[in-house]
């Protein structure tokens, strides 16, 4: 038995020695559980400043898609998705900022939350806001946290405006510096300019609510514009809230080398008409001359478009004949192309111009307007396709000058041109607010009874995971149910 005991002892040792303790496996060696907020900021910026969207250009009658029938182009879309996962990143950044005492990140967090809340409320109408993020912030997982109620669109706007003001007022150069900032390199002043400029956009999007005393948009607008020391605005293209691209895999222009961008995107003929009518040299950087024309690229007659509402085969036939202008080569063949704008200086000038026309602020609308146009032409001047003399010639055309009674339409048209393949869906939303330009819907491919949709249906995941609240929100807002033609409070 003695030998057995020895062997058994050895066996026991062999089985149980040299094992790591169980608690030593409770830490993931590959990923961190806490982090400096700067690491979250980089990620947030990469997402929020990436605004290049072909669907927006298709829905805004700037581009036409020729590979198959596009729901964006024919207005046959249904649902859209929500952006709360990005708000989560902003909230997590705020939590990490509070943990390490870096308050500036908390105010940037307010900006990003506001940005995404506006993005969503413009898409759907009412959204969860006051009760959102409870699982993340308070670690709550009961049904009130996991199924937050929806807030009225007006409440969302009011809260966002207050949050933006707090962010602008509180960002401070004397607090711990911001790092990981791929937009402004930690420059607090520029962040204030961005936040104030964005606030102007939010206020202008409420132009139908000019008389709403709760919102008080006129005063809010004026408070910013008339106090440039406290509320500076973007002052040139170098202040643009933009994400620059780099020729490194993953950091390149999103359609760089995209097969589809090389073969399937053509200019819309209504867009070509607008540019031709105004002799706008941006046509040369937005499109390619048609193959059939044989004309040089700087000839306005070298360009023609496809019809966004015509059926697919009508467009593929015209494309096959070489009679349509493709989107400019740079969108598919240039790794850096142009930066992606969250909001740019040109837009701020157009906002000021419109506010001046509306009498919200003083100043000369025409001056703001021309500064905006000039900034846009400079921004889009890829490869110096046109000279500064060309820009001046363009600005000096009588057709460009603001005509009384038609100012807002002209301003929005310029904003529309300037936002080609940039600034997300902003051009579409401006058209939805002002009706400029008129989107053509006469062709045989059009869906939705020829109507331009006013919104998107709420996503399926809300119906699955927050049914009662989303159904109540629909009932409150849209008598005809959740459909794409419902008119939200903002547009009433």
């Amino acid at each position: 038995m003695k030998r057995f005991n020895i062997i058994a002892g050895v066996m026991m040792v062999a089985v149980f020695v040299s094992c790591k303790k169980f608690d030593s496996f409770q830490e993931n060696p590959n990923n961190p559980t806490t982090a400096d907020p700067s690491l979250l900021l980089t990620n947030l910026e990469m997402n929020s400043f990436s605004t290049i969207a072909t669907d927006a250009a298709l829905a805004s009658r700037q581009l036409v898609y020729t590979q198959s029938s596009s729901n964006a182009q024919y207005y046959g879309w249904q649902r859209s998705g929500m952006s709360y996962s990005n708000i989560s990143q902003a909230v997590k950044m705020e939590l990490e900022a509070a943990r390490v005492g870096k308050s500036n990140y908390r105010y940037l967090g307010k900006f990003f939350k506001s940005y995404y809340a506006i993005l969503m409320t413009q898409t759907f109408g009412d959204i969860p806001y006051s009760q959102m993020m409870q699982s993340l912030t308070n670690n709550k997982f009961d049904s009130t946290a996991t199924r937050p109620v929806y807030d009225k669109q007006q409440e969302v706007y009011l809260n966002v405006l207050n949050e933006l003001k707090i962010a602008s007022d509180s960002l401070s150069g004397s607090s711990v510096a911001i790092t990981g900032d791929i937009i402004y390199g930690g420059n607090i002043d520029k962040w204030k300019r961005l936040i104030n400029s964005f606030t102007l956009r939010v206020l202008m999007s409420l132009s139908k609510k000019e008389s709403n005393a709760t919102l008080n948009i006129k005063q809010r607008f004026d408070e910013i514009v008339s106090n440039p020391a406290k509320y500076p605005l973007l002052a040139s293209n170098s202040d643009n809230g933009q994400l620059k691209y780099y020729n490194v895999t993953g950091n390149q222009y999103p359609f760089y080398n995209s097969n589809s961008m090389k073969t399937d995107y053509y200019l819309d003929s209504t867009f070509v008409d607008i540019l031709q009518d105004l002799q706008d040299p941006r046509l040369f950087v937005y499109g390619q001359p048609t193959v059939a024309s044989g004309l040089p690229a700087n000839d306005f007659d070298a360009y023609d478009g496809l019809s966004g509402s015509a059926n697919l085969s009508a467009n593929t036939v015209k494309k096959g004949q070489g009679k349509a202008s493709q989107i400019n080569r740079r969108y598919a063949y240039e790794a850096i192309n142009e930066p992606s704008l969250l909001i740019g200086y040109a837009e701020v000038q157009f906002l000021l111009a419109e506010a001046a026309v509306r009498g919200w602020i003083g100043g000369n609308a025409g001056d703001y307007y021309k500064k905006g146009i000039e900034a846009s032409l400079n921004f889009s001047n890829f490869g110096n396709t046109y000279s500064s003399a060309d820009i001046q010639t363009y600005l000096n055309q009588p057709a460009i000058a603001l005509q009384p009674g038609n100012e807002i339409s002209q301003i929005i048209t310029q904003k529309y041109i300037s936002m080609f393949m940039n600034t997300g869906w902003q051009a579409f939303y401006e058209q939805r607010r002002t009706g400029t330009p008129v989107f053509e819907t006469a062709g045989g491919g059009i869906l939705n009874g020829g109507k331009v949709p006013k919104r998107w249906m709420y996503p399926t995941d809300e119906y699955n995971n927050n049914r009662v609240n989303v159904e109540n929100a629909v009932k409150d807002q849209y008598p005809d149910g959740d459909n794409i033609n419902g008119v939200m409070w903002l547009l009433q």
Binding site: K20, F25, Q26, N30, T42, E45, N257, T316
Partner: protein
């Protein structure tokens, strides 16, 4: 410490049991002896020796010796599983050596199978389903993996074989992935290529949680146990087994139309291949081929093409005749594949021990040019009786898989079929593309008919290279110690190790969806190690002829460690120079380390009562590192009963054997999803992308329940086995019902809460199914024998309780319904007709709509062997019935214009610019439909009218793929496949005498023919993501022993 205490307690318990039972009634003589196998004279251990009519008994030790006290007039009864019981009178002898005959295996009551932990048991004593397949069945006909050879042979086991080279077959047992065990050592990584089929003695399939309960969490889905061959006592035997198979023809190959070429809207004119004209979009909706045109030099319609010469005078491309040169592109591209398998093994043994060594090499030449796989294995194993009480057994296998290039699978540009089948018009002859570089731009620019979307298939196979090398080592060492006649201990340590090295060479000008490559080189190296150590103590005692117990207790520790490092260039400065230092932008790299540990104690008790009732009990306690500390320990019990009624009841004459069985088990798992990420219960940041070298992190959208508990399966299984007419016909039926609860699943929540879902314990599922096996020997004469076997199985899973959803849904599945529902978004009327929009295209539904089920109704297999003198013919047929399978290949063929169904007059009209096609179906004339939140119709006042909107056929197909004409590309998965055929001639002994002990020659065939509902593709893999055509293999096997 809790664990050690537990172990000590068990040991104490067992030792006390052993001391209590060591006092034997006194007899007159001490009888000793050795028990041998009559087959090969090897010694037999664990032979039970009873003194007839008494309770005295013992067993032989590992050296085959025994010692027992018996009176001179008494009789010793020697019994051992699988052997014929012998009774020997003592008659005054003090030394009795016995040779035991191997029992006839078709005697159902004697069948022995390998069960959990590698323990051999009588099948009749088991309360759960185990099916054993002999290694012989895979000796002749060869497939690339050993597991593939099980296809269709085991009821409930579904082997989904792929047609693609060097891809793993997917295996499911009762719908889930079983554990692989090799010689008692779990192989959680389950590389199907690492085991040499010629080394396999037998494969035992433990079908359910009860059978696998002793493996704990790893065995929750059942297990497949490989037992490898061991050395045998006796003189040296050498076996050579060689098979060579040629992939000579297509079992199933897509048929494409040959009348229309590349182009769009019926037009084609090559400009630069990059999309300023009709050629760039890459459609196969071009002009009709072979159209006479007297005005051209060739007499056919002419247009510029990719191979047009440039007119030196004008600098323009010269039009070429538009004719069908490429009618046989698919067949012209592929070559004859070869699967060559050669193995040699040698075995020798003496009284004390034996060893076996083997080497094998499998060489596979792919049907796709410049592809192939080599697989080499060496193994060495032996056993030795160190003392009369202590013996050891060890085995080590080294295996190396290596491929310089194997095809990329899945729909997309790197798959050659993307460019060879779907996106090439018959105007291009593939053979003209063999010379794949543009002249003067070798190494920089590929030559092709389209340069915006597609790659030249020859360029892909010769320049886009997927290399893979993997070295596997695995083996085990076992010590057995016979403490007393009734008590033994076993220590076994086994390991699996591999290191792998995968590299991808991407050439300049390779076209992916969203980039044209500037060259790239990536390397992924991985190393893996797991070690499992078991200490098992066994006590068995025969109290009387009516009561017999066998108790096993053990402890185990398993640890695994996995590391991976991925490194890639970002562009190559010097084309074709594949080295990290050649990267244009900074190298991209990532790595991980994963460790996991499980410590366990377990026990098992088998009780035999009244010679017909058998009870099995098992229990296991695991502590795992993959759950939060407070919930990381859990217990698994199981119980089974088997009653061999034919041993106690007088049954009607035709029934020669009847057994009923039932088992119950509760098995937990602390592994989240498939267990590959041991940190899945810990919420951490995800590493984000870098922007201009600035790093980022992202907080996950999925929360994790902090107090996760293990997921549980409670299984109940009931079966009956019967033999008729002296067991000429046997039937086995099993019904199982598993209740799966506390599943660790992602429960969605409103994303406005801050998380889109939470990983938590939720939901209750029920898994139910039937398995049947019928085996028989319908004909048996002196010279001729026909053996046949059929197996059938069915299995589905139902959601019983969506525990966290007030509406009773989990995702789209409602409580009470099957979980394999397929949903589509195309809009259809209640009668199934397509609903069209005003533009003549099918509408899209805002809700996911139920379309059908994906599970097979039944899977089946049928094996036959005919033996006539020295000739034998065996074949195996299998397949599935019902269930829908989606086909990407068919959808893309209709979408792109290569499907033969697209050849019609509407297409000619479309080519002429006319809109004449009216999609079959309806439009909504009036009324409206209301849905609830889950898309169920609440009210429907719609009136439908036939769709009358004529549209352009090409535009229609480009938008809808003609899905409504093709059942939305979901095809019935029903098929029947001639899996394998073997015709063997065993060379008679008179010819081989003096040279070989035995020799055989076989004609072998695999995948010989297929009858299927699904067009163009082989449904074997139960999915189609653009697969390699299914090939027929035929060849020769030679086997000799000397």
């Amino acid at each position: 410490m809790k664990l050690a205490a537990c172990m000590a307690f068990l040991l104490a318990l067992l030792s006390s049991a052993c001391f209590a039972q060591t006092t034997l009634p006194a007899g007159n003589n001490k009888v000793t002896g050795v028990v041998h196998s009559a087959k090969d004279s090897s010694v037999l251990s664990s032979v039970s020796i009873m003194v007839k009519g008494s309770t005295r008994g013992t067993t032989t030790n590992t050296a085959g010796t025994y010692s027992i006290t018996a009176g001179t007039g008494e009789v010793l009864v020697f019994s051992l599983l699988g052997h014929i019981t012998r009774e020997v009178p003592v008659a005054g002898s003090t030394s009795i050596d016995v040779y035991m005959q191997v029992g006839e295996m078709n005697q159902l009551s004697e069948v022995v199978v390998t069960t959990a932990l590698g323990i051999k048991k009588q099948q009749k004593a088991l309360g759960y389903a185990v099916q054993e397949v002999s290694g012989e069945t895979m000796a002749k006909t060869k497939v690339p993996t050993a597991i593939g050879a099980l296809t269709g042979k085991v009821a409930g086991l579904n082997v989904k074989n792929t047609t693609d080279l060097f891809q793993n077959p997917e295996i499911t047992l009762r719908g889930v992935t079983p554990l692989i065990v090799i010689d008692g050592i779990p192989d959680p990584n389950a590389d199907p290529y690492k085991l040499n089929a010629d080394d396999i003695e037998s494969i035992s399939v433990l079908k359910g949680p009860a059978a696998g309960a002793l493996y704990g969490a790893l065995g929750i889905n059942g297990a497949i146990l490989y037992t490898t061959k061991k050395g045998r006592k006796g003189k040296l035997t050498v076996e050579v087994n060689s098979s060579t198979m040629f992939q000579t023809g297509f079992t199933k190959v897509p048929k494409v139309q040959t009348q229309y070429g590349n182009g769009d809207a019926g037009k084609y004119a090559y400009i630069n291949g990059s999309g300023n004209g009709t050629e760039g979009g890459g459609w196969i909706w071009g002009p009709k081929l072979d159209q006479k045109d007297p005005s051209t030099p060739s007499g056919y319609y002419e247009t510029t093409q990719y191979n047009s010469p440039v007119d030196p005078a004008t600098g323009k491309l010269v039009p070429l005749p538009w004719i069908s040169r490429g009618k046989d592109n698919i067949k012209n591209f592929f070559r004859t594949g070869i699967l060559s398998t050669n193995s040699v093994s040698a075995s020798v043994g003496s009284e004390k021990g034996s060893f076996r060594m083997s080497a094998s090499h499998i060489a596979q030449k792919g049907v796709v040019p410049n592809t192939g796989v080599n697989n080499t294995s060496f193994s060495f194993g032996g056993n030795y009786a160190l003392t009369s009480k202590l013996s050891m057994d060890a085995k080590l296998t080294y295996n190396r898989e290596y491929s310089d290039n194997y095809p990329t699978v899945g729909y997309g540009p790197p798959n050659i079929l993307y460019n060879l089948l779907l996106w090439i018009g018959p105007d291009v002859d593939i053979r003209d593309l063999k010379d794949y570089w543009v002249k003067g731009k070798e190494g920089l620019q590929q030559k092709n008919y389209n340069l915006s979307w597609y790659n030249n298939p020859y360029f892909v196979v010769n320049e886009l290279l997927n290399g893979y090398k993997r070295s596997n080592s695995f083996g085990q060492t076992t010590f057995d110690y016979q403490i007393t006649n009734d008590l033994s201990a076993r220590l076994r340590t086994g390991f699996n190790q591999f290191s792998s090295d995968k590299d991808v060479k991407e050439p300049y000008s390779y076209i992916a969806y969203d980039y044209i490559s500037k060259g790239n080189y990536s390397v992924t190296t991985a190393s893996y190690f797991d070690i499992t150590t078991d200490l098992i103590i066994n006590y068995k005692h025969r109290f009387s002829n009516n009561f017999n117990i066998n108790v096993t207790a053990g402890g185990a520790n398993a640890y695994r460690n996995e590391k991976q490092l991925y490194t890639s260039t970002d562009g190559l400065t010097i084309p074709g120079y594949y080295n990290m230092s050649n990267s244009i932008s900074p190298i991209v790299s990532s790595n991980y380390l994963r460790e996991r540990r499980t410590a366990s104690v377990y026990g098992m008790a088998d009780i035999e009562a009244f010679r017909f009732l058998y009870f099995n009990f098992t229990g296991r306690y695991d502590k795992t590192s993959t759950l939060p500390l407070q919930n990381n320990g859990f217990f698994y019990p199981s119980a089974g009963i088997s009653a061999v009624l034919s041993d106690v009841l007088q049954l009607p004459q035709p029934i020669s054997f009847l057994k009923t069985r039932a088992s119950w088990a509760k098995v937990n798992t602390g592994f989240i999803s498939n267990g590959s990420d041991p940190y899945a219960h810990i919420l951490t940041y995800n590493i984000g992308a870098k922007w201009n070298n600035v790093p980022s992190l992202r907080w996950p959208a999925r929360a994790i329940q902090p107090d996760l508990v293990p997921a549980t399966v409670k299984s109940g299984e009931y079966g009956v086995a019967a033999g008729f007419f002296g067991n000429r016909i046997t039937i086995d039926a099993t019904y199982f019902r598993n209740r799966e609860y506390n599943k660790i699943v992602e429960v969605a929540q409103s994303q406005a809460s801050g998380f889109t879902s939470m990983l938590k314990n939720a939901n209750v599922y029920e898994r139910k199914g039937w398995e049947f096996m019928i085996n028989g020997v319908p004909v048996k004469t002196k010279d001729f024998k026909w053996e046949t076997g059929v197996n059938l199985s069915t299995m589905h899973v139902w959601l019983k309780d969506a525990t966290d959803d007030p509406d009773g849904y989990y995702q789209n599945i409602k409580e009470g319904s099957r979980t394999d529902k397929i949903f589509i978004s195309a809009s259809r009327a209640p009668d199934g007709q397509a609903i069209y929009n005003s533009n003549g295209m099918q509408a899209t539904d805002p809700y996911a709509r139920f379309f059908g089920h994906s599970d097979a109704d039944w899977i089946y297999g049928w094996q036959n062997t005919f033996t006539y003198k020295n000739l034998s013919l065996s074949f195996s047929v299998d397949g599935r019935l019902g269930g829908l399978i989606y086909s990407t290949t068919n959808q893309k063929m209709w979408w792109g214009g290569t499907a033969p169904g697209t050849v019609n007059n509407f297409r000619d009209d479309a080519n002429a610019g006319k809109s004449t096609y009216v999609g079959p179906g309806v439009v909504v004339e009036s009324g409206k439909v209301d849905y609830d939140a889950h898309g169920n119709i609440i009210s429907d006042t719609r009136k439908f009218a036939p769709n009358t909107k004529a549209v352009n056929y090409i535009g229609f197909m480009q938008t809808t793929s003609g899905q409504m004409l093709n059942n939305y590309f979901y095809y019935k998965g029903t098929y029947l496949k001639m899996r394998e055929l073997v015709l063997t001639y065993n060379v008679p002994g008179k010819f081989t005498k003096g040279v070989f002990n035995s020799a055989s020659v076989s004609f072998i065939g695999n995948n010989l023919f297929l009858l299927a509902k699904m067009p163009n593709v082989d449904p074997d893999s139960e999915r189609d993501q653009l697969q390699t055509p299914s090939m027929r293999s035929m060849g020769i096997n030679i086997n000799f022993k000397f």
